[in-house]
């Protein structure tokens, strides 16, 4: 990276913080064995504590890639196999029918293809046996489709994987995770328990209420495997990405394509622990993370001799948009071409009537009816439904793919329909990588 490239990136981050789009932002780029890092804004705006390049951010679901590494290390060591039924790896789950299904494997959980319904996140305590307790309290986990049929992002699957790691590594997950990062990878800028977060500069999870930044509480410890707990500096996250890329079998199996996602606006596909970007992951893979108030992006380019990687995190509602703005510059800096354009193949449907109706998943109901012009109107309700998904207008691009703008995020996303019956009615709706099934009463 030249000095002017570094200066340009630093400037963009500083400007985003000054303009108030985000509270804190940090970027680290690891290339040719060197890590460069930039930061701006406030790690803690209420307490006037500035963000520094080594500030820890709650990396959210980017944790899943590290959880997956722990699973793959057990597989490579011969202590598990990817096609082992989940119920054999964790017999204590026998009380939950969906998880006791022998067709459901560890590989399905890694690739979000288990068809699991119910992204339960709750506080089951703070102790070392929190995952065992969590597992005893998730009876509501249901099934959206048979294991292996379709992609549907499932946080709970990664918490089950964390429990499997615990059972087969014979250590509480929080210790296995810390041991991997500290002792195997030699990293130090991370924190798992809150008392460890106090020892370093840790960016708070903030949400904006009017002009005020209000801290959100930490995510529950019980969902540690899916990403509610781990905080990490961007230099260490980028270094972890590069170390993973050079780890041989673990990385090659993690980024091996499990599923193609032609109907997704963000990802070309999904591997066994990471999302696949350029070249179906052969050129670029990674993981995004979002917790209350923080967005994280990890990108790993495995091709260069020493693997390059970058990590970006920011606190505040515009975090995703700020990343979108600087990603082209990062790619240019590293000599990685622009993100391949996403364009669905096919023509829009002539008749929108078959799409109407009710689609459901655990805690969420989506009602679709005719909207203005050639659009559909999506209403979201239910205890687990995000209010930002309510009242979206869906514009058809193809039979499967509709485009919509989420005003709260100022972002355009795709939603998709699948499993069309002979009368043209879709059986499944996919919103933000998660499936919902057409309500039974709605099936004719």
């Amino acid at each position: 990276m030249t000095a002017s490239e570094a200066g340009a990136l630093e400037h963009r981050i500083a400007k985003a913080c000054e303009s108030g789009r985000v509270c804190a932002a940090a970027l680290a780029i690891h290339a040719d064995g060197q890590t460069q890092a930039f930061a701006a804004g406030f790690a803690n705006a209420r307490e006037d504590i500035l963000a520094t390049p080594d500030t820890l951010f709650h990396i959210g679901s980017a944790t899943k890639a590290i959880t997956a590494e722990l699973v793959w290390r057990l597989i490579v060591d011969g202590r598990l196999t990817a096609d082992l039924p989940v119920i054999e790896a964790a017999p204590e789950l026998a009380h939950i029918a969906t998880l006791a299904d022998k067709r459901l494997t560890i590989g399905h959980l890694l690739s979000h293809t288990g068809g699991l319904d119910g992204d339960v996140i709750f506080e089951a305590g703070r102790g070392k046996d929190v995952l065992r307790r969590f597992m005893s309290q998730i009876q509501e986990i249901g099934s959206l489709c048979a294991p292996g049929e379709r992609f549907s992002y499932a946080n709970v699957g990664y918490n089950i994987l964390a429990r499997i790691v615990e059972l087969h590594a014979a250590a509480p997950f929080e210790e296995a995770l810390g041991d991997l990062l500290r002792n195997t990878h030699g990293l130090s800028q991370f924190a798992i328990l809150p008392e460890e977060k106090i020892r370093q500069r840790t960016a708070l999870l903030l949400t904006r209420h009017g002009q005020e930044w209000v801290p959100s509480l930490f995510g529950p410890h019980s969902n540690i495997g899916s990403g509610t707990v781990l905080a990490m500096s961007m230099p260490d996250l980028a270094r972890w990405g590069a170390l993973l890329a050079m780890s041989g079998e673990v990385a090659s199996r993690m980024r091996q394509p499990a599923v193609r996602l032609p109907f997704n606006h963000r990802y070309q596909g999904w591997g066994f622990g990471v999302s696949l970007l350029d070249g179906m992951g052969a050129e670029l893979f990674g993981h995004d993370g979002g917790t209350a108030g923080t967005a994280t992006f990890l990108r790993i380019a495995p091709k260069s001799a020493s693997a390059s990687a970058w990590a970006f995190a920011a606190t505040g509602p515009d975090a995703v948009a700020v990343y979108r703005d600087i990603e082209p510059l990062i790619r240019e800096t590293l000599g990685i071409g622009p993100a391949p354009p996403r364009k669905p193949q096919g023509a829009p449907p002539r008749d929108l009537t078959p799409y109407e109706g009710r689609y459901e998943r655990h805690g969420m109901t989506f009602d679709i009816q005719a909207g203005e012009g050639e659009t559909l109107l999506l209403s979201a309700s239910g205890a687990m439904a995000s209010p930002i998904l309510d009242g979206l207008h869906l514009r058809p691009l193809t039979t499967e793919v509709f485009e919509t703008t989420i005003p709260a995020l100022d972002a355009s996303i795709w939603v998709s329909f699948h499993d069309f019956a002979s009368d043209g009615k879709p059986g499944l709706l996919s919103v933000l990588e998660r499936l919902a099934r057409r309500a039974q009463a709605d099936v004719t």
Binding site: E47, R126, G127, D129, E195, E196, K197, R201, L204
Partner: protein, 440 residues
């Protein structure tokens, strides 16, 4: 009283901090008419985040004064009788051994239960941590029969915390918040690190051989010992609010509770103990207070109730005791002519049969080996509970089974040998705790 002379307090605090090699320090003085606060240095030498007077520090055993206050509030509401056997509230056999007997909440508050109390087993971070710890307390040995000897007892304060959970029907942390921290307006204080992480919060430091402070190793924060001082993060501002309410007998601390807690209950060789408070009387002045320490952090809260004077200090490493004396003692001396330092008699000149005191003495926390040497006693205290270096010190006889020891730079203690044990040889009282003779 008149306002104390606090000219240049900020400069005095900065100077005292630097002299004592303390990375970060907060200091507060309060008298009838008002309070002043000061801060100097950094909370964490790695991050360089600066200390402010509202920064959180681990205040350690000062928490015991808060726990005792909560017990007295519950008693005033009729929820418990501090003179009833604890078994009325906790239906477990707590403590064992030949000295076992019923003991009361009052005895626990005054460290008079006789229980060997440095049991630092971590029973987890969950809401049931205290309940689980009580099961372990079944095995604690009584070093003396309840009520007979003062013996500083951490486990006893965990038992008090568990009594609060049972009579209030909520966790100790919630009782502390609802009945003391919230009514005092001590909004920053918390027992949860996930809340402390949102504030400016100090990290403890230890001193490297070359004199540089480095972050203390991560320490065990056993939630079960929260009521004894393992959990609470607080500020000098919040400590002063607590002290002021005590001195004034103001909500949420009634005058009756305040008076009962500073009434002497236990005699030490160099001080007395009330309910959750240490009492030092010097030249007609009565000081009431408590010190606190975790590995790498120290806190002090001392009052002169008759004068409405309170001083608090928090420090995160270095020679904190030296900083405390250089800052607080001149203010106390100005106000009342005395300082809260135990009075130590002069060395005795006539000969003493030192051989009678030799032996190995033990409790859960330390093993102390004592040998006669150079007209005094040499002691080597091996820390059993924590990976800390041995403490080696010499004791000079004061007469009456008492000895004077100087430990470290600034810590003068009186060590005593108590009545003979079963074998007719005296038992050791050191660092506020009883020790059984285990070897001749």
């Amino acid at each position: 009283m008149l306002a104390p002379n606090l000219t240049d307090l900020d400069a005095r605090v900065a100077h005292a901090r630097q002299q004592a090699g303390v990375p970060g320090l907060t200091f507060a003085v309060s008298w009838n008419a008002g309070s002043v606060f000061a801060a100097s240095g950094v909370l964490n030498v790695d991050t360089g985040v600066e200390a402010r007077s509202d920064s959180l520090f681990q205040v350690g055993s000062i928490t015991k004064s808060l726990t005792a206050t909560l017990i007295m509030q519950a008693a005033a509401e009729g929820l418990l009788d501090i003179d009833a056997p604890v078994s009325r509230y906790i239906p477990l056999q707590l403590g064992a051994g030949e000295n076992a007997g019923p003991f009361t909440a009052r005895q626990l508050m005054a460290h008079l239960s006789g229980l060997d109390g440095d049991l630092f087993t971590d029973t987890g971070r969950d809401d049931d941590a205290l309940a689980k710890y009580m099961v372990l307390c079944a095995q604690l040995e009584f070093l003396s029969p309840p009520g007979r000897h003062y013996n500083y007892c951490n486990a006893g304060y965990a038992i008090l915390g568990r009594i609060l959970e049972i009579v209030r029907g909520k966790t100790y942390d919630q009782v502390l918040r609802d009945h003391l921290l919230a009514p005092l307006g001590a909004a920053r204080s918390t027992t949860f690190p996930e809340e402390a992480a949102f504030a400016r919060t100090a990290v403890g430091h230890v001193t490297r051989p070359d004199g540089a402070p480095v972050l203390a190793p991560p320490i065990m924060l056993a939630r079960a010992l929260g009521p004894a001082g393992f959990s609470l993060y607080s500020t000098v501002e919040d400590l002063i609010a607590f002290a002021r309410a005590h001195m004034a007998g103001e909500d949420p601390i009634s005058p009756q509770i305040a008076a009962a807690m500073r009434a002497p209950h236990a005699e030490l060789p160099d001080a007395r103990w009330g309910l959750g408070w240490k009492i030092i009387s010097r030249g007609g002045v009565t000081f009431v207070g408590h010190d606190g320490g975790t590995i790498g952090q120290s806190a002090y809260l001392w009052t002169v109730p008759e004068q409405g004077l309170a001083i608090a200090m928090c420090a995160n490493g270095g020679r904190a005791g030296m900083a405390w004396e250089s800052l607080a003692h001149p203010i106390f001396r100005d106000a009342c002519g005395q300082v809260p330092r135990p009075s130590i008699p002069q060395d005795l000149s006539e000969p003493v049969d030192l051989a009678a005191f030799e032996g190995v003495f033990e409790n859960l926390g330390v093993a102390v080996e004592i040998r006669a040497e150079d007209g005094g006693l040499k002691a080597v205290a091996v820390q059993k509970a924590f990976a800390l270096p041995d403490i080696i010190f010499h004791m000079r006889p004061l007469g009456g089974g008492r000895f004077r020891a100087t430990i470290g730079d600034d810590d003068k203690v009186v060590t005593a040998f108590l009545e003979p044990g079963p074998d007719g040889r005296p038992e050791l009282f050191y660092a506020g705790r009883l020790h059984r003779r285990v070897k001749r």
